[in-house]
């Protein structure tokens, strides 16, 4: 997993509430057995017209927000289906971080597992940020994970909170399975005791 430290880039606003994973990655892109080609599926029904041409009204198709690195999103982003394809697609499209007020639980974990940083801000700060980056002249920002800071073009800085555990995993790009397997003895020990006291679970 690619470590996340200091990342610069454009931020695009997608501020509607409850943008679900069906919208982020429609069903026709879920038929693979690998992770390839999912960038094409991201927001497919909104990003492309029925003719297949890019929809000029969609923010990520507008020249000032093309190739955005961050999304500033509305409440409950990523709700609905557990499909990790939504995160794989966003990542393949070049999205490194999402900034919002609330995120759906499974989506949040999926982002973490894929090295996509989720930043949660209070509603006021998010609205302000949303306004700033909705202006093409000020949509370039910098995210510094070590310092837990979002820096705007005018050099003003917004602080954000993040659990130490999540921060370390993102900074180091850790392999979660590998880390847990280092505790294998502990797990085996727990399992042995647990199955002995609950023998019907064996």
């Amino acid at each position: 997993m690619k470590p996340f430290n200091i990342v610069n880039g454009k931020a695009a606003p997608l501020l509607a509430a409850n943008i679900d994973t069906d919208v982020i990655m429609p069903k026709q892109f879920l038929k693979g057995i690998d992770r390839q080609g999912l960038d094409h599926g991201v927001f497919f029904d909104q990003r492309f017209l029925t003719s297949g041409e890019p929809n000029p009204d969609f923010i990520l198709n507008q020249s000032e927000w093309q190739e955005s690195t961050f999304l500033v999103v509305g409440p409950n982003f990523g709700c609905g289906s557990s499909r990790e394809h939504a995160v794989w697609g966003l990542k393949q499209l070049g999205i490194r971080a999402l900034i919002g007020t609330t995120f759906a639980g499974i989506f949040y974990d999926n982002c973490q597992r894929n090295g996509v940083l989720i930043i949660q801000l209070p509603e006021n700060s998010l609205l302000e940020l949303g306004q700033v980056i909705s202006n093409a002249k000020s949509n370039e920002i910098q995210i510094n994970l070590q310092e837990q800071q979002i820096k705007l073009k005018d050099n003003s800085v917004t602080h954000f909170d993040i659990d130490h555990l999540r921060k370390t995993a993102l900074l180091e790009g850790l392999d979660a399975v590998g880390s847990t397997l280092q505790r294998k003895e502990l797990i085996d020990h727990f399992e042995h005791k647990y199955l002995k006291t609950n023998p019907w679970l064996q």
């Binding site: 409850n18 679900d20 069903k27 057995i33 597992r113 979660a176 797990i187 727990f190 647990y194 019907w200």
Partner: protein, 473 residues
């Protein structure tokens, strides 16, 4: 400092291998996982690439449910190359890693959340995770279930654990008697409407109260299933005699001495009397009306006798915009009566409402009636066992006579990953759980409701109040 614990605390504490930090992260032991063909492939590939094994293969059960066709003649053929590849890769993975699979022709095949309880794969006190958001269903059995993504599936297969962050707790107490033809589906839809699609984000919900106690185990599953539509990452109920009765004769339930030991333990699974919850919600069941969704988020729901809301009257600018957008997508008019909305399709199925009791409810509505001429109506039973049961009870004949297509089991039009896809502009009364834009097909419009309400809509050709059936047609 109080030592009183919620049942959620008890579930998590009894499964904690070790604490990982002071922010609430633990390494959580998982008892069971159900796997499907579409969210598992990359997890198995991950194991293969790293040369890792599955730690306890017998604790996982795989089913084919999302991509298979549901045509009434069952074959092993998949409608498209992608689906075929996913099904064959699941078979290969189960074979190589020693996991049991209910393949498409298996008599136990069906939607994962219907099959797992039916087979007695889930018991009270278990913590269950699966690569599907509706894993919350198992809360109705006194277990704690939650959905995970594909990376987590891989982690779980390899380690039997997950890195888990403790949730906040919410208690939803439901008292009072549900009115005629008002079901547990209406109850959960009313809750989602009340607290919003993210009202329970970051929470585990405990459902309790006299209304819940009076519901059947299957009706309770509908509630826990849809709790995720309010954002809950888990939902659960204290197990009672009804649950033990439900489990008793199931194929994989504990037997003999183990059964006795298990029930003794299961009876202790409840929140302590003075346990504190972070949030409390109370619902009076006697006030709940039959509900339908009019918009594109499950919280955009109203009692059937309502009209489409006027966005102008909404003060919150976000909610106002979302309302405008939903009304436009749904092709509706402000002030329109919900009962005036015509439908082109009716779908009865999904892990929310496709069990035998749901089908009996539908049969009661459609017996000696006929589907409206402009409506295509299909019934997709939740599992092959449910299908067989419905046939032996004579329900299938009632459905067919009433003009419903009687299908084989699967997820089908709940998410339209197979060939049951709606066209742009189609409007479907649906017993499913999500009315998202494009969920049942790009440009298609979904109205969620109870299976009985779908049946009533199918008969009349428009959304209608199930309590009026017989008065109108």
């Amino acid at each position: 400092m109080t030592s009183a614990k919620t049942l959620y605390d008890k579930h998590i504490d009894s499964h904690t291998v070790c604490k990982l930090d002071d922010d609430g992260h633990v390494l959580l032991y998982i008892d069971r996982q159900v796997l499907n063909e579409y969210t598992s492939p990359q997890a198995f590939s991950g194991l293969r690439e790293a040369g890792r094994q599955v730690k306890r293969p017998k604790t996982h059960l795989a089913v084919v449910d999302h991509v298979n066709p549901t045509a009434s003649l069952r074959t092993a053929e998949m409608p498209d190359e992608g689906g075929a590849q996913q099904v064959s890769y699941l078979g290969e993975n189960c074979q190589d890693f020693g996991i049991e699979l209910f393949d498409i022709l298996d008599q136990r095949q069906g939607i994962e959340h219907v099959v797992a309880p039916e087979q007695g794969f889930i018991f009270p006190g278990m913590v269950v995770a699966a690569g599907d958001s509706h894993t919350t269903t198992y809360g109705a059995l006194g277990a704690f279930g939650f959905g995970i993504g594909t990376s987590e599936i891989e982690h779980l297969l390899a380690t039997q654990t997950l890195v888990y962050k403790r949730l906040k707790s919410m208690r939803v107490t439901v008292d009072g008697i549900l009115g005629t033809a008002v079901t547990s589906k209406d109850l959960i839809m009313a809750l989602i409407h009340k607290i919003g699609a993210s009202g329970a984000t970051g929470f585990a919900i405990e459902f309790c109260g006299s209304t819940i106690c009076n519901l059947s185990v299957e009706a309770r599953m509908t509630i826990c299933n849809m709790a995720v539509e309010a954002g809950a990452r888990g939902a659960y109920m204290a197990p009672d005699d009804k649950v033990f009765e439900y489990l008793k004769e199931k194929p994989r339930s504990p037997k003999g001495e183990h059964w006795k030991q298990a029930v003794k333990k299961w009876r202790t699974l409840r929140s302590d009397d003075d346990a504190k919850f972070d949030e409390e919600v109370k619902i009076d069941a006697s006030c709940i009306q039959p509900m339908v969704t009019w918009g594109t988020s499950p919280d955009q729901a109203l009692p059937i006798q309502s009209t489409i809301p006027n966005p102008e009257l909404i003060t919150d600018p976000h909610v106002r915009n979302d309302t405008y957008r939903a009304i436009e997508y749904m092709g509706l008019k402000v002030g329109q009566q919900l009962t005036e909305i015509p439908i082109s399709h009716a779908f009865i199925g999904s892990c929310t409402n496709s069990r035998i009791e749901d089908l009996r409810e539908v049969a009661d509505v459609v017996r000696n009636r006929h589907v409206a001429s402009n409506v295509q109506a299909i019934i997709v039973p939740g599992s092959t066992e449910v299908r067989n049961q419905a046939e032996s009870e004579g329900l299938a004949d009632i459905f067919k006579k009433a003009g419903f297509e009687w299908r084989q089991s699967g997820c089908s039009m709940c998410l339209a990953m197979n060939d049951d896809v709606l066209q742009p502009g189609d409007r479907c009364a649906s017993s499913t759980n999500r009315n998202f834009e494009g969920r049942q097909g790009a440009g298609a419009r979904t109205h969620l409701m109870s299976p009985g309400m779908v049946a009533a809509a199918a008969i009349s050709g428009h959304l209608m109040d199930i309590r009026k059936i017989g008065q109108e047609v």
